[in-house]
Amino acid sequence: MSEAAYNFAYLDEATKRMIRRALLKGLAIPGYQVPFASREMPMPYGWGTGGVQVTAACLTPEDCLKVIDQGADDTTNAVSIRKFFERTAGVATTEHTAEASVIQTRHRIPEQALTEGQILVYQVPIPEPLRFLEPRESETRRMHALEEYGLMHVKLYEDIARHGAIATSYAYPVKVEGRYVMDPSPIPKFDNPKLGGNAAIQLFGAGREQRIYALPPYTQVVSLDFEDHPFEPSKADHDCDLCGAAQSYLDEVITDDRGGRMFICSDTDFCASRRADGLRGRLSPEEAA
C-alpha cells in the first residue's frame, strides 16, 4: 500500500480527536495521567507507540520533526520513527534541536534549552510512579486522589538506609505544582531540573499502559528529596572526550578489552555542533584540514 493511502500522520481523525481531548485535559491537570484508548501502531510496544500517537495527534504539515533515542538522532528507534513520519505525514525532519518544532524523545531532554513554540513528546514505558510499590491500578488511582505519597518517600528513605544516598538515578519521581507525583519517564535524574520552568510544552505518551500526561510551560516541578538528603542531579565525572563539554550528560563507551573507555555526550546534536564550532576533547585532536 502506498503512503498516499494513509491519512495524514497515519492515525484516523476520530482517533486523533480522542488523543487530542486527552492531551488538553492533561495540560489542564498537570502531572495527572489521563486514560486514553491507545491504538495498535505498526511497531511493537516498547518502541515508542505512546510517543508516536501523541506526535501524530500534534503534527501539522508545517512542522519540523526531530526524534532522539537516549539523546542520539542516529539510533534505530529514532531513525525508524523519523522515517515513519516522513512517509505518513510528509513533514520536514531535522537533527538540530533549534530547528525542530516537535521533538519526540526516548529517555533524554536535549542539552540545548528549548523555546516557546517547541513541543517535547516523551515515550513512556511505565507512567505510574507508584507501580513498583503498589501493583494494583485501583489502589494507585486512589493514592493519587488522596495525595497519599508516603510510600514513595519510604522508598527513597530505604535507598538512603541501604546505600547512604538516594540511589535512584533515572525515572526519578517529581511532584508537579505541589499536587501530583509524576514519573518523568526514564530520563536520567541529570535532566530533572529541565522539567520545571521549561518554555516548551512537554507531553508524555504511554502506549501499552494507555496513559497521557503533560506539563504546560513554566510548570513547577520538584524532584522528591529530604532536607538532609537534597536532590542532586548527577553525571559521570568527566568531560566529553569528543567535544570537551563539561556540563553535558555523558555515555560511557568501552573501546577495547583492556579497560579502555571513553565518555561522550549522549546528545549527538549538541556534541556535533560543538565540534563543528572547533571545540575538541581528549580523544578528538584538531583535524589537519
Binding site: 500522520a9 485535559k25 500534534c58 503534527l59
Partner: protein, 190 residues
C-alpha cells in the same frame, strides 16, 4: 436554512486543518490567557468561527454537547449534527458546552470530574463579544510570571480554581481568536 448552508462551513481539508486548529487549542490551553488565531470553520451565526473550529477539532459522536440557549437555534443544531454528530444533552451530562457566559449559568451544573478521574470534567466554549479589554491577572502553570486576559467574570473562575484538581476548563472565542483558562490557573481582578 437550506441544505447547502448546513453542509458548508466545515474543514475543506480535515486532516491538515484540524491539525492546525488543534495546535491553536493546545497552545491556548498550555498558555492560559494568550490569544491564538484559529481559522478554517464557517459555522452559522451566532457561533463564532473560532468556536466552530474548536467544535470541528474536538467534538464528535462520542462527546455529549450542551448548547446554551444563546447558541441553540435550528441552524446551529443542524450544522453540529452534520459536521460533528455530537448528541445534544442537558448541561449536567455534557463533555463540552457552547454558549455565551450568561447563557451557560449556573456553571455549577457542569461536570468537574471525580477524585479518581479528574479528567472527566466538562470543557466550556464561551462565546465572548471581544478579546479586550483585559479584566483579570492570571498566574499558574503555563504562565512564566503573570498574564492579563479578558474574562467574563472573576468569582466563578476563582471558585473553580479552589476545587483543583477538579473543575471545568474553558475556551473563550471571539471572531477567529481563541484563548483558554484551565482549572489550574489562579485568577484575580485587575
Amino acid at each position: 436554512m437550506d441544505h447547502a448552508e448546513i453542509l458548508a462551513g466545515g474543514f475543506d481539508d480535515p486532516a491538515a486543518q484540524s491539525a492546525r486548529a488543534f495546535r491553536a487549542c493546545l497552545e491556548a490551553m498550555a498558555r492560559p490567557g494568550r490569544i491564538q488565531p484559529i481559522t478554517g470553520a464557517a459555522p452559522p451565526a451566532p457561533i463564532s468561527p473560532a468556536a466552530g473550529a474548536v467544535l470541528l477539532t474536538l467534538v464528535d459522536t462520542t462527546t455529549p454537547l450542551y448548547l446554551a440557549p444563546s447558541q441553540d437555534t435550528q441552524a446551529t443544531r443542524q450544522w453540529i449534527a452534520f459536521h460533528c454528530g455530537a448528541p445534544i444533552v442537558p448541561a449536567e451530562e455534557a463533555a463540552f458546552a457552547l454558549g455565551a457566559w450568561g447563557a451557560l449559568q449556573p456553571v455549577s451544573r457542569f461536570a468537574i470530574g471525580t477524585a479518581d478521574y479528574p479528567d472527566r470534567a466538562a470543557t466550556l466554549i464561551v462565546e465572548m463579544p471581544g478579546a479586550t479589554p483585559p479584566s483579570a491577572r492570571l498566574a499558574g502553570p503555563g504562565i512564566e510570571t503573570c498574564h492579563e486576559a479578558c474574562l467574563p467574570e472573576i468569582a466563578a473562575f476563582a471558585a473553580n480554581r479552589t476545587q483543583f484538581p477538579l473543575g471545568f476548563d474553558c475556551y473563550f472565542s471571539a471572531g477567529s481568536q481563541l484563548w483558554a483558562l484551565p482549572r489550574s490557573t489562579n485568577v484575580e481582578a485587575l
